[in-house]
């Protein structure tokens, strides 16, 4: 363990990280630090490595070179370290990944009772508290398949929050949703940001980025091409590739 004095303000730091899928160099020389309480939006064309980047932070993917340090712990092959990090980092997926054979409430209490060793009653109280927060407490006895996409994604957010994570990762949380359901999920994410959660969001919701993000990171071909505050990034992109990308997503 590193000492806590300076490391506490760093949620994530990545130093010269490289990763390959087979021969494909998917992350190239990534250097990135994210402070405690910072909200970062990662965007870029598809295949640019942005999802892989955040999947490395919760060790769903292994990196081959460089150092990734999350909450003062270095990610290596030490199983105990990885489990500790995974408990502190919440992840929300594009496809929600709720457990279809469990009710909404069971989805939210499972890890609390198994990992945090909470009593069932306590876990259910916490779950209901977060289901209130994502404005969906009345659905707690239903199964995920009975909910709309927007409702499922809000449950997935509540499920992560129940573990009381220090960092929340969002991997294109609204990309699989029908247009009319996007805002209900973004509203939840905005209120989470306002409470001071450290957030790293892969998303193309530019309105959300402008409103919430402290920093926007633009990735292309496995590299961080540009990073800036949202207003500077959207209004005056510096890099040619950023300009091209923004013109493509904003032209309609």
């Amino acid at each position: 363990m590193t000492d806590n004095s300076g490391a506490q303000t760093r949620a994530v730091s990545m130093t010269d990280v490289n990763k390959w899928f087979g021969d494909f160099h998917v992350l190239r020389h990534i250097n990135l630090t994210i402070d405690d309480g910072e909200k970062v939006v990662v965007c870029g064309p598809s295949g640019s490595g942005k999802s892989t980047l955040i999947r490395c932070i919760c060790k769903l993917e292994d990196h081959q070179e460089g150092i990734i340090n999350v909450l003062g712990t270095e990610l290596n092959e030490d199983v105990a370290n990885i489990d500790e990090i995974r408990r502190e980092v919440g992840m929300v997926f594009q496809q929600f990944n709720l457990f279809p054979h469990m009710t909404v409430l069971e989805n939210c209490t499972l890890a609390q009772t198994l990992v945090r060793k909470k009593s069932r009653k306590e876990a259910e109280e916490i779950a209901m508290e977060f289901l209130h927060k994502v404005r969906i407490p009345e659905q707690s006895t239903k199964y995920p398949g009975e909910l709309s996409g927007g409702q499922q994604q809000r449950v997935a957010i509540a499920r992560s929050l129940c573990m009381n994570p220090k960092i929340m990762l969002f991997d294109e949380p609204t990309s699989a949703l029908d247009p009319e359901m996007i805002s209900e999920v973004l509203d939840v994410m905005v209120s989470l940001a306002e409470e001071g959660m450290t957030m790293i969001c892969v998303t193309h919701e530019m309105g959300f980025a402008r409103r919430v993000a402290d920093r926007v990171i633009f990735m292309d071909e496995g590299e961080i091409v540009e990073q800036n505050d949202p207003h500077s990034f959207f209004d005056n992109p510096e890099n040619e590739r950023s300009k091209l990308f923004l013109s493509q997503i904003l032209q309609h």
Binding site: V89, A111, V115, Y143
Partner: protein, 362 residues
């Protein structure tokens, strides 16, 4: 509200039953002919069966003499010989033990179908105690019951014992095999794959022969056990290899995101397997899992070949002597009904489960 009634929601147009019937059965002269022909054939067959089985049949053992004049079934043979069909060579005065054992096992099987008991501990407890009581009653040696060794077990009791023992050993083994074949370590995955494919490529008969006759030459004495147990272990491995592939098919259908969600919540391997992977895998491949149980129940009759008197062999013994030799049809119909009762309830239960587990799934 819109004034135009045409655009309001309304029920779909209803078609009267009579006209639906006319459309599907009597639309053309040829349709009429086929419908009537089928109806006549069907009624004739049903009448013949009912007449044979119930109307003209003889029921009690004393009336056996009447069978020669009657055109119906002679159920006297069942009345006289049903104990052999149910219990085989089990000593006559101990038949109550075999009866009780069968009832205990049927209750255990039925109880394990109740969703309220579906946790590893409860199911484990239920089966260990149910199976333990069954074995204690059949084998004896405790509470003043005389010892009856497995060579003398037989009939329905033996069929149920083999089926239950094969399922009990085979199910956990099949889960282990399925997980092993999906291991991320290539050596483990290949080894488990080889094991499964090896046993699947052998006929069940070969496996049973090997277990019954060849293994005593190979295994040390203390490991051999009774022939019945060797046969059950061989059968269970065969069952597990097929069932493992059914379960693995169910696992393949689960999106990788499910495991990733478990990982990011901090669940360890066994927690992910028991809480996320297996429940979904079982639900996904339920039809083929139930199918394998049905096949196994019927395949228990193959143990006759290595010298066990399960229900089918006991049936042959039941009509094999004296005046009963002419009544083999009745015996086989009776055994057929018993098989049907077991297998049909199994498949109905499978259908019920599928319905129940579909809750909340598209």
């Amino acid at each position: 509200m819109t004034p135009t009634t045409e655009r309001a929601y309304r029920a779909p147009p209803s078609v009267p039953f009579a006209s639906r019937l006319k459309k599907s059965l009597f639309a053309s002269p040829l349709d009429c002919f086929i419908t009537i022909l089928c109806a006549v054939l069907f009624t004739t067959i049903i009448y013949a069966v009912v007449d044979w089985a119930f109307l003209s049949s003889i029921w009690s053992e004393e009336d056996e003499a009447l069978c020669r004049e009657s055109s119906g079934a002679c159920w006297s043979v069942i009345d006289a010989r049903h104990r052999i069909i149910f219990f085989g060579l089990f000593p006559y005065e101990e038949h109550w033990r075999s009866t009780l054992a069968c009832i205990v096992m049927i209750i255990t099987i039925a109880a394990s179908c109740l969703p309220a008991l579906w946790s590893a501990t409860r199911l484990g407890l239920l089966w260990v105690s149910g199976f333990g009581i069954f074995y204690m009653l059949m084998h004896g040696g405790v509470f003043g019951m005389t010892v009856i060794t497995p060579e003398r077990w037989g009939g329905l009791a033996l069929t149920i014992f083999i089926f239950a023992a094969v399922s009990l050993l085979g199910m956990p083994l099949s889960v282990v095999l399925a997980l092993g074949r999906r291991s991320k370590l290539p050596v483990i995955a290949k080894l488990f794959g080889l094991f499964i494919d090896f046993f699947r490529s052998l006929p069940l008969l070969t496996i049973l022969f090997t277990a019954a006759i060849i293994t005593p030459f190979v295994l040390p004495g203390w490991l051999q056990g009774d022939k019945l147990y060797r046969v059950i272990v061989g059968f269970a491995i065969f069952f597990a290899c097929y069932q493992a592939e059914n379960i693995r098919a169910g696992m393949q259908a689960i999106p990788p995101g499910q495991d990733e969600a478990g990982l990011t919540l901090g669940l360890n391997y066994w927690q992910r397997v028991t809480r996320i992977l297996l429940p979904q895998a079982f639900r996904n491949s339920l039809p083929s899992i139930v199918n394998q149980f049905v096949i196994t129940f019927k395949e228990t009759s193959i143990v006759t070949i290595v010298g066990f008197f399960e229900i089918l062999a006991s049936g042959s013994a039941a009509y094999g002597t004296g005046k009963w030799t002419v009544h083999y049809i009745e015996v086989y119909v009776f055994i057929g009904v018993i098989y049907f009762l077991f297998v049909f309830s199994l498949s109905r239960y499978g259908a019920y489960l599928e319905n129940k587990l579909r809750v909340g799934h598209d």
